[in-house]
């Protein structure tokens, strides 16, 4: 079994797994690297370009890890969404019940 799961069944994707935690850790790091990297690159400092490149790599890795799971969650959830919205609207119109 691979360390990063890229094929999800509908039920599996609804669970919180290590792929979520990897995205949760990488995501703010990507923000930090890109923020600092853009500023220093704009000043044409060589290490700014390195930091920015690291931020881009982190962004790509994060999407590679989390995108299959998010897609699977979305596909499964959409099967139920109409029902949830109908229930919500019924609860809002409480006088009709």
């Amino acid at each position: 079994m691979k360390f990063i799961k890229r094929k999800w069944t509908a039920g599996e994707a609804d669970e919180w797994t290590k792929e979520d935690w990897i995205a949760i850790v990488i995501s703010p790091l990507a923000y930090i690297f890109i923020m600092v990297g853009v500023a220093l690159s704009f000043l044409l400092l060589w290490y700014g370009f390195l930091i920015l490149a690291a931020g881009v790599v982190l962004t790509v890795v994060m999407h590679w890890v989390i995108n299959p799971k998010l897609k699977s969650i979305s596909d499964r959830y959409e099967l139920h969404q109409k029902e949830y919205i109908r229930e919500l609207e019924e609860s809002v119109r409480w006088e009709d019940r």
């Binding site: 979520d20 703010p28 890109i34 923020m35 500023a39 220093l40 044409l44 998010l70 959830y77 809002v92």
Partner: protein, 528 residues
Amino acid sequence: MVTFTFLDWLWLSLFLVLMVVCGALFYRLGKRSEADFFLAGRGLPWWLPASSVYATHTATDTPMWVSGVIYRYGLSGLWYTFFSAWCAISAFVSTRIFRRSVAYTQAEWNTLRFGGLGAEMLRGWLAGWQVFMNMFILGWVGIAMGKICHMAFGWPTWIGLTVFSSICAVYVLSAGYWGVVMADFQQGVIALFVIIVVSVWGVIAAGGASGIVSKLAAMGQSWRLNPFAFTGWFDGHFPVAWFLTMLFIALLGGFGMGTSIDWYPEAQRIQSARTVRDASYCIWWGSLLVVVRNSIWAVAILGFFVMFPGMTQTADYELAWFRIGFEYLPAGMVGFFFAAIIAIHLSTVSTHLNLGAAYATRDIFQHYIKPGSSERTLVWVGRVATFILLIGSFFYGLMMEELTEWLIFALWLMSAGIWLPNILQVVWWRFNAWGYLAAWISNLGLSWLVVWILPEFGILPHLKDFQQFWLLMLLGALIYIPVTFLTRPENMDHLVKYYVMSRPIGWWGPVRREAERRGLLQKVKEIT
């Protein structure tokens, strides 16, 4: 004072016509239903609400604020703008959970997460607070626009406050959120383009990138190039303790809902995305653009610093970026720059007009006054609420000078003592409506005590912001945690329904087991 040429007026006129017409074109979509007027029918691809996230959080006062912290603290000032990074984690946690709830607003979410009287009280309180806050923010950014117009053209401030917000109201009133998000897209593109052009112009004016670096070295100010130029563990303008507190608040806040004032407009964008995946990406990419924008601005402000060092008045150096645009762009481009300032302004105004109206319509009118209203009625109520918010914002804007200090304090009330409860409501099944209400109420009193009253009587020293945060968080917890345990948990049926729909992260064991027992979820072992 700025003098416009014919070309400047042309840019400005074309932009205003383009924006109003593009927004109003969606009139027929906006009037179809309440869901269209406030959520664009929940069908947007991620890049549209992402551009709206970015455009909304680029307001007229934002470049002033960024200019202020960068001029004072150099690149380490970027961390003052890093609070928006709560979205980095929220995109994969609270965004996902909120999108699955299908709630229109955060107030409505309260009645899905909690039940009974407590939930109703929370919904009413939050809805009223949000109507007020959106009107206040509209007044705040409106008066900032008034000041910019006064600086540039010598107009009285009320003209800048009222004219552009009124133009914006044309497409918000006609097309609702459809108009907001479509106009935000073009405004976001124009604003980003101009931010890059003006900042590059500023850097060139300061002698180029290498010129800025060498001039800072010659001035003995090279520390301004270091984003991690700490001044000690607890002392100075950039202590490590402040930095760690900021990271803690910003990043862990992504596990909760409402941990940042920006959550409320983002929640609307989250629900307008067509899938859970689109919702996550709209928040992540929209906020990344905010972070990148701040970095671009920061370098231009460093350029301004080497040209005009030694400014001591905040009111002077906060206008740095606007001065670069108005004073250094060539004739014919100034109108384009001003059009971009209007784009920045209107994207924020349109969002808060529609968002405040959403709370007034969905959570107050429909929920408490006339639940059986037709879609047509709800759209019209949305329009009336939008108009009232617009007029109310003018009054707020004109009073803002006297109110600012108090209202900043009101914002503070929303953050420190409520920060942890806003996370607990998402991650802990046992946290109930009474605990959350107790947190809000106790925070009102504790904030007054810690920030104003106790220091005034010498009982408590005047604490720094980050010290106040930790103290308020601790004192609040001493109240709402006992209240939570002394009151009943939420009804299990209600919690199971919420859990199956939203699948929240955190400590939800008893609810999950009950859902499995009822056959509503498969056990993890069976599906792996």
